[in-house]
């Protein structure tokens, strides 16, 4: 048992941390509900008053979404659809390919598997900036610029970190389980789909949540590869929205739009939380 003072201290630290992290979010919520004048004042002068939403302007939310892009609602809905398509494909692609490759590294004996694994881990050390220009040239030569392909196709080739995570987890599954599946008539694909995937759900939850949040919020890649307005994802559209109205004239609407785009990530995180924590907690799979 921890002593009382120790406990108090831990809680105080946790609360302080929570407040620090929640402060910007709360500020966004407060400003998103203000009139344009009050929002400007809050942005410029700050102060306690800026954190209290008096007279909440709920219509800021529909207004903001409506005004995104050049045609009413269309800008927002297009961007939303684009984000959803790109994110779902990238998430599914990353989880499926990473688990498949993870299984191969964990369970298949083949020539060169060890050096290949090390090379794959090595790719984690390459900063994205290093590969940005070569990748752009590659995708341009493939004629993929201004399509979703550069955002989606690489996901189907796995992600070194998630492959590593899957491999570690899959290596703990008892060999006899896979042998039983082989005797029950499964090939490698069947084993992967019917045994490995269901047993690695915690890893899949982590992979899915991280990939989803990263792809959903990713700004740089869509900005580089997507050029027409109707291809923009939400993060890009949000940026145009900011430029459209310049500076802080409609900061309340900007905050409302930003908060709206965060909703899917928060929902997903809450939904996957249980899987998540289970995965961090146990790891091994017992027959």
């Amino acid at each position: 048992m921890r002593s009382r003072t120790e406990k108090t201290l831990i809680y105080a630290l946790l609360i302080a941390g929570t407040v620090t992290f929640l402060f910007p979010l709360w500020w966004m919520v407060a400003v998103s509900l203000k009139t344009p004048e009050a929002a400007q004042a809050a942005t410029v002068r700050g102060g306690i008053a800026s954190l209290v939403p008096t007279d909440p302007q709920w219509h800021n939310y529909p207004d903001a979404l409506m005004q995104m892009g050049s045609v009413r609602w269309t800008g927002f809905l297009d961007a939303l659809a684009n984000s959803v398509v790109v994110t779902i494909l990238a998430t599914a692609g990353t989880a499926l390919s990473s688990s498949l490759v993870g299984m191969a590294f964990a369970r298949m004996r083949f020539r060169g598997s060890r050096p290949m694994f090390l090379v794959m881990l090595g790719t984690m050390m390459l900063p994205a900036q290093v590969t940005m220009i070569p990748l752009f040239i590659l995708f341009r030569n493939l004629g993929w610029i201004d399509t979703f392909l550069p955002l989606v196709v690489p996901a189907f080739f796995g992600n070194a970190f998630f492959i590593f995570m899957y491999r570690q987890f899959i290596a703990q599954i008892p060999e006899a389980l896979l042998e039983a599946a082989r005797l029950d008539g499964q090939g490698w694909f069947g084993i992967w789909w019917r045994v490995i995937l269901p047993l690695t759900r915690p890893v899949t939850a982590i992979t899915a949540v991280f990939t989803f949040i990263f792809t959903w919020n990713d700004f740089l890649a869509p900005l580089i590869y997507l050029q027409s307005d109707d291809q923009a994802t939400l993060s890009v559209a949000l940026n145009s929205f900011r430029n459209q109205y310049g500076g802080i004239t409609k900061v309340n609407l900007l905050m409302a739009a930003s908060l709206t785009t965060m909703v899917p990530c928060i929902l997903l995180f809450l939904a996957a939380q249980k899987q998540f924590i289970e995965g961090l907690g146990k790891g091994a799979v017992k027959g």
Partner: protein, 388 residues
């Protein structure tokens, strides 16, 4: 149901571990075969080569007359029960049992879903029925909806058994299926497996390191050591006519007593004793260094007062000894005695007069004794039993 023929089967693992060396064995259709031997002797490896889980380094394995060396496990029509049950943790008992059958459906694929709905439904219903029937015979029907983690060890083993049974394979393979159970459950399940074999008349190959399990289950057993088959025969044969000293020592409890010495002019001579060997038992009397093997129940420990009467018995010889220790088993007792420098165990009727440290006379019965060539794995030297 099928015969299994192993022809010069060998397995060499990377690093030059020779786990199985040129095993040539033929199992009959419907036979219960037990592979037995100390840990690491290659039993599992041999079993896994039959299953197709391990590549065969040399020789051929044939199931039902067909060489299966190149066939993947799923095409060999074998089912296996593992030591750690190997139930799919994410599937209910019912799904675990149905899993292998679902894979073998004719209308399992997309075409079944689209064009043969009725056949597909009939197949699924048949699978349900089979699973239910099997579950009933094993008494696990109430567990069908549970996940493996909600089962006790014994129940898991039963489900694993059910999963193999429901497939109705040509051959059942068991790799130490009972070693994770407690002693009582083990004996109960042993009887049940035996009963299962009697009922299904299926070919079974069963691996265990426990000679008692092997003796009680096997129609015929394969005794192995260091990857080499030492003897292949019925439990009775292995017990009564062990091929060599290793088998003699491995089969039967308490372990057979061995005395190193030499055969000289029709008598066995060791440091502290000289016993005359009945010529009727060894018609071709060997000569030279040898090991005498006597099972504990062939020894009688005589309290000195009774000694005079039996010392001249024709079927054996009596020698002086000291009692080292006594283990009481209820109606009988194991007495360890020292005959000179050799320790021997006798299993006898209770005799309260014996005390630890006391001197006794030990009568060595030679009616079922064996002579082995000297050395750890010395072959049994021919005796009357082999004449016919």
């Amino acid at each position: 149901m099928a015969t299994i023929e192993l022809n010069c089967v060998s397995k060499t693992y990377t690093g030059d571990v020779r786990a199985v060396r040129e095993a040539t064995l033929a199992f009959r259709d419907g036979e219960f075969i037990v592979l037995v031997g100390p840990s690491g002797c290659g039993k599992s490896t041999l079993l896994r080569m039959i299953a197709g889980l391990e590549a065969i380094s040399g020789g051929t394995v044939a199931i039902g007359g067909r060489v299966v060396n190149e066939l993947p496990p799923k095409d060999r029509d074998v089912a296996m029960v593992f030591q750690n049950y190997a139930l799919y943790p994410h599937m209910t008992v019912e799904k675990n049992m149905a899993f292998g059958l679902l894979r073998r459906r004719k209308h399992g694929g997309i075409s079944g879903l689209l064009f043969h709905r009725a056949e597909r439904r009939a197949e699924l219903a048949a699978i349900d029925r089979k699973v239910l029937d099997t579950a009933r015979t094993l008494g696990i029907e109430p567990l069908l909806a549970r996940l493996p983690r909600a089962l006790s060890g014994g129940q898991r083993q039963r489900v694993a058994l059910g999963r193999a049974l429901v497939r109705e394979p040509q051959v059942f393979l068991f790799d130490e299926p009972l070693s994770n159970l407690d002693a009582r459950l083990r004996i109960e399940m042993r009887a049940e497996i035996r009963e299962l074999h009697r009922r299904t008349k299926a070919s079974m190959v069963y691996v265990t390191h426990d000679q008692e399990e092997a003796m009680t289950l096997a129609d015929r057993m394969v005794v192995m050591k260091f990857g080499v088959v030492q003897q292949f025969g019925t439990p009775g044969e292995c017990y009564a006519r062990p091929a060599n000293r290793f088998v003699a020592g491995f089969v039967g409890t308490p372990v057979m007593n061995f005395i190193e010495g030499r055969v000289d002019g029709g008598a066995f001579v060791a440091a502290d004793m000289r016993v005359t060997l009945p010529a009727a038992r060894w018609p071709r009397m060997p000569a030279g260094p040898a090991t005498l093997g006597v099972r504990p129940d062939q020894l009688r420990v005589l309290y000195r007062a009774d000694a005079g009467a039996s010392s001249t018995a024709a079927d054996g010889a009596s020698v002086a000894a000291t009692v080292r220790s006594i283990e009481r088993l209820g109606d009988r007792m194991d007495v360890a005695v020292m005959i000179g420098g050799t320790r021997m165990t006798a299993r006898i009727e209770n005799d309260d007069r014996l005390v630890e440290g006391g001197s006794v006379l030990v009568h060595i019965g030679l009616g079922a004794a064996h002579l082995f060539a000297s050395g750890e794995d010395g072959a049994r030297l021919g005796d009357a039993h082999d004449a016919g």
